[in-house]
Symmetry: C2
Subunit: 420 residues, 2 copies
């Protein structure tokens, strides 16, 4: 029996056990600020694998001056980070397996067919908030390490498991790992890619635009200036900017993607009375940041597009659109297509699935962007169903979790090199 | 000394007394549901003038089936209506002097330089919520009647003073007066026209539009449909409808008015996350209703414009814009330009001010629209400053109140005919 079969069988034998583990993880409600119970379990698991562990609460003061720090939290008490290191024998490449435990709020319970944190299994799928994004991926990382250790395989390079907080709200957990000195030759992040390989990740930046008008009674609306009518110009300028930015993009990984770098306006709000002219409209959105550009460059392009409105409508000369960069910021990032990790992962995928993987650029950011900023090539590949992330009835196919675990184990053997 | 001078002098002698009266009225906070204290004072005043009075609380059941009834209230306890009749000697035309006592909320106190209900007088102007809309006008009506009675003038026709509730929220007070049987040959309503004569009044109808989309992650926004992008089409269709409706309008009273019948979108709200595609946008606005059309006709035109969106964008075929007619509805209305009341008011204006009045159509509705529906020609003419209605720092020039009182008294002598 070859090594691949051994790994496969070792995982399949424990399917029920791993399924129960994922059920328990999903039932741990790990909304921001509520991660401690779950992280304590992870800490125990890492220790039972014999990993060197490090569990700590982030000191906000140590990160505050870091330009990549982006969090609304003043205090991370009750939200520990955990790192577990499987020390290699020496002479091999090191690999970070990074995953976040925080989940986004479950939203309107009426839209869930099961309770949001049920962990129920139906037709081979496990249901619950956070199972696709990304506790299923985290389980795959855990299984990969546990299986290799169970089979007595030793690696030359270190494997660094990271169970981090705050990915959904700015990446403070991964940033803290980086600042604490955890580095490696590459990172693999099993976010929900549906087993597509994403060597590049789009970053994104949230913006808030305030468009001004002049209030008036609706019956004499010509005495005012409608901030909504001006907002239509703003929306159209954003649409034009999106077209321009995407036309300028030349990356084969985006082939066939209708809008590689979307600018999305997700919220609009303004006016307070049906028969008054609205004097302020607020628009909130996100601008996608290409793997080849910086956050600052994308910010500058949106700022310039808003300033250019004054060229065609003098209103904006006196009342420029106010831009606020708020909330989330995901750094773009990635790994060179010639990095051997891409080929190794591709080979492992082929061995497991008997077909070629899809290789694309991700349409959203992950903590891999932060890794890239610190010089660590980062690749995203995981089992979850992309469109279910952040949505009601989130679920994951268990077969996908186990397949990814297998692929990760095979890749680690190549990347970190098994001791003969 | 002629009659005009007598009226003028009788008013001027009591300037301070009337000013204090208006101060007291403004300090009565008459938000919807809180009118009783103020109305009891008005009742006392009407009785002290020797009028036959009628004070009652509206029975909501008696109005519920009336197609013109429009109120969110289930109960009018604590909000009495008052009518005071100055019976004529017989053989003259009757006149209703109608004014509402309810005021709109004062809004953000920080935007007021004085306390919202201060009643303070600065540089000849009296400040406070409701003084322009329309306690100043109500005082003018009261002074006009009080002055004629003080001078011993007797009229042939009845003068019917109406101090009503709920104009700001749909006109239930005036509708109740009409249903209680109070009718006259004409009505004069001293809403804040800045002493322009408005023989015609625009009606208006509030609408709420719901525009649908399909949710998606902002990074793959092409997988969804933005309700905001669809809303831009809706806004543009409304702009086109406004142009068409105004192009079709042929009324000399609207000469020089940039947009005689505005369609105003006053509120917009939709989406819940910057990086999600919004799947519903709500727009709220008001459509102006021409003096020559019905509310139903205007509703039909907006409905048709929304339906026509499907002709250019098949999205709207499957997801038509939902229209809800909610909140306020003011009936359009007016009086024939050949009605002698217009000429009499014009003559009185000329006598008091020594110049010609401006005669226009009003850009907003009043309870005069309801009068018109019951066959009572209604004319709007009053002392307040139009643009201050519903706004912070609302105030009125006291000289204007006294001038309008004079004009109303002179007009009543002509219309109701003084006994020789």
């Amino acid at each position: 029996m070859n090594l691949h079969n051994s790994i496969h069988n070792a995982i399949q034998v424990r399917r029920d056990e791993y399924t129960r583990l994922l059920q328990a993880w999903v039932r741990d409600v790990t909304l921001s600020g509520q991660e401690a119970v779950h992280q304590n379990k992870i800490h125990e698991l890492y220790r039972s694998l014999g990993l060197d562990t490090d569990m700590w609460e982030i000191d906000v003061e140590s990160l505050r001056d870091n330009p990549l720090f982006n969090s609304h939290r003043e205090d991370f008490t009750g939200s520990p980070n955990i790192v577990g290191i499987w020390r290699g024998e020496g002479g091999g490449r090191s690999l970070i397996l990074n995953g976040h435990v925080d989940v986004v709020p479950e939203g309107d319970h009426d839209q869930w067919q099961l309770a949001p944190y049920s962990g129920e299994v139906i037709d081979g799928c496990l249901y619950g908030r956070g199972v696709t994004d990304m506790k299923g991926g985290n389980l795959a990382s855990y299984i990969a390490v546990a299986t290799l250790k169970e089979l007595g395989i030793r690696l030359k390079g270190d494997v660094i498991l990271q169970s981090v907080i705050e990915e959904e709200a700015g990446g403070a957990g991964t940033l803290a790992c980086l600042e604490r000195g955890y580095r490696a030759d590459a990172a693999l992040i099993p976010e929900p890619t549906e087993q597509k390989i994403f060597p590049r990740q789009q970053g994104s930046r949230w913006f808030r635009l305030r468009v001004a008008g002049i209030k008036a009674h609706g019956g004499t609306r010509y005495e005012g200036v409608s901030a909504l009518e001006k907002s239509v110009s703003v929306i159209q300028a954003i649409q034009r900017l999106e077209v321009e930015r995407n036309a300028a993009l030349d990356d084969p990984l985006y082939e066939g993607v209708p809008i590689p770098l979307p600018i999305n306006i997700g919220r609009i709000q303004g006016g307070d009375w049906p028969s008054s002219v609205p004097d302020e409209i607020t628009l909130e959105g996100r601008i996608g940041i290409g793997p080849g550009e910086t956050v600052a460059q994308a910010e500058a392009e949106l700022t310039q597009a808003m300033a250019a409105l004054a060229d065609v409508d003098s209103w904006f000369l006196e009342h420029p659109v106010e831009i606020e960069w708020f909330g989330a910021c995901w750094q773009p990032g990635g790994i060179g297509l010639d990095n051997p990790l891409v080929e190794m992962l591709t080979t492992a995928f082929r061995d497991v699935h008997g077909k070629e993987p899809q290789v694309q650029a991700s349409p959203w950011g992950t903590d891999g962007g932060l890794m890239t900023q610190y010089g660590i090539p980062a690749l995203v590949f995981g089992p979850g169903i992309t469109r279910l992330a952040h949505f009601p009835n989130e679920h994951i196919r268990l077969d996908d979790v186990f397949a990814v675990a297998e692929i990760m184990a095979l890749t680690m053997i190549q990347w970190c090199q098994a001791v003969e």
